[in-house]
């Protein structure tokens, strides 16, 4: 039995209905624990004061915003190569979630930037590339909305996603030209030594796990409702009087 079996929408619906409650529960638990821990049981940072607590939302949201696009890229490739409807619909369902994550990262970043850098917004490379990512999400969703035939829409958005990914990477490189920027570098890299103290580190991991499960749950829900929508269309077409 291969994994591809679940690319059948009906099978996928069955499987996901069993998985969904667990994923949701896990995401709820991790989020509540992580956020409570982060917000109430950690000390204030000596430089940043209590504003450091935004990190528990900001960093996971930023991570998920990027990973959601990555998932859409993979799903798009699968759709173009193997033409499994579920993967196209999953890509479609991931986009709004990714968009919201991007927005959350941008907004929490802006809120954080005010006390830290003294400005709501700066044209720092990382912030700028996030803004561009935001535009990619909007364009991707707008294209989905604008095309009526679902298969055509899946094809075209997949191609856009692939081409867009290349350009997103290019722009990330391009904005680095400007300046080193104000934003700190990656703090969760495995090879370098940690630059976030342990007190902040563990709840952060928990909350990242919570965001990952939340993302999974939302994508599952979205995919399921897309499948139901398609099914309703098929049924309605069959009922149509001749």
């Amino acid at each position: 039995m291969s994994l591809w079996e679940y690319s059948n929408p009906v099978k996928f619906l069955k499987l996901s209905s069993r998985v969904l409650p667990w994923v949701s529960a896990l995401s709820g638990i991790c989020l509540i624990l992580g956020l409570f821990w982060g917000f109430f049981w950690t000390p204030d940072d000596y430089r940043m004061g209590s504003t450091v607590k935004i990190i528990y939302i900001h960093v996971p949201a930023a991570l998920m915003a990027i990973n959601a696009w990555f998932m859409m890229l993979v799903a798009s490739l699968i759709w173009l190569i193997r033409r499994h409807h579920v993967s196209a619909l999953a890509a479609k369902a991931a986009a709004p979630v990714g968009l919201v994550m991007t927005l959350i990262a941008l907004i929490t970043g802006a809120i954080w930037g005010q006390p830290m850098w003294g400005t709501w917004w700066a044209w720092d490379p990382r912030l700028t590339s996030f803004l561009i990512l935001f535009q990619f999400y909007i364009g991707y969703l707008a294209l989905w909305k604008a095309i009526e035939n679902p298969d055509n829409a899946a094809d075209l958005t997949s191609i856009l996603c692939i081409v867009g990914s290349v350009f997103a990477v290019l722009s990330r490189y391009a904005v680095n030209f400007w300046s080193q920027g104000l934003h700190q570098g990656a703090s969760l890299s495995l090879d370098k030594e940690k630059n976030v103290a342990d007190v902040f580190y563990h709840p952060l991991l928990l909350s990242i796990a919570g965001f990952i499960f939340l993302f999974l749950a939302l994508v599952l829900i979205g995919t399921r409702s897309e499948i139901r929508m398609r099914r309703a269309l098929v049924v309605a077409a069959r009922r149509m009087p001749s």
Binding site: G139, I147, D155, F167, F177
Partner: protein, 218 residues
Amino acid sequence: MRAVLLRDLKLAMRLGGGFGLAIMFFLIVTVLVPLGIGPDLALLSAISSGILWVGALLACLLSLDRILSLDYEDGTLDHLAISPLPLENVILAKATAHWLTTGLPLGLASPLLGLMLGLPLEGFFWLLLSLVFGTPALSMIGTFGATLTLGLKRGGLLLSILVLPLYVPTLIFGAEVARRGSIGIELQTPLWMLLGVSFGVVAVLPFASSAVLRINLR
């Protein structure tokens, strides 16, 4: 392929065809910006090369939707799709025609407009060079976007939204070349990047576009 290119150029030259309009638009943007931000020349000269690049980009953008939509609406694309000509060539011919009628004249006109915005003299050459090397990428990316929004009634603004983030690397490298040129510092790296983007885009996107076009003609 020559036939498509020549016909597109001829159409552009004809009444209402749009040749020269891109430059006019470019000129007008250059005029509007000082009107909007006031006549401070030091300020203007600091932003001139960037504004000129943004203006060129917008002028390109405005003329994108005519690359394909007229031919789509009147059925020419259907007929071309079942003609002996490969669709990739059609795409390439159309992008080339767009560049010849938009990007190239824009680049050639840029020194004049640079003058009006107080761009330092030593920047003229690099501005021109960066536009001439960068606009082929703009035309090709724009053609790709135009194929994506083809079926959609007046996809004009949707087209802009899809295409603008794709324009970002070209814009940054191009504007950086022009900026560095105007203040006379080293500009090898962005220049090579700009050339790389242009060549890469022109080599790869015709295939993506013709795939998209086939889907949209369905």
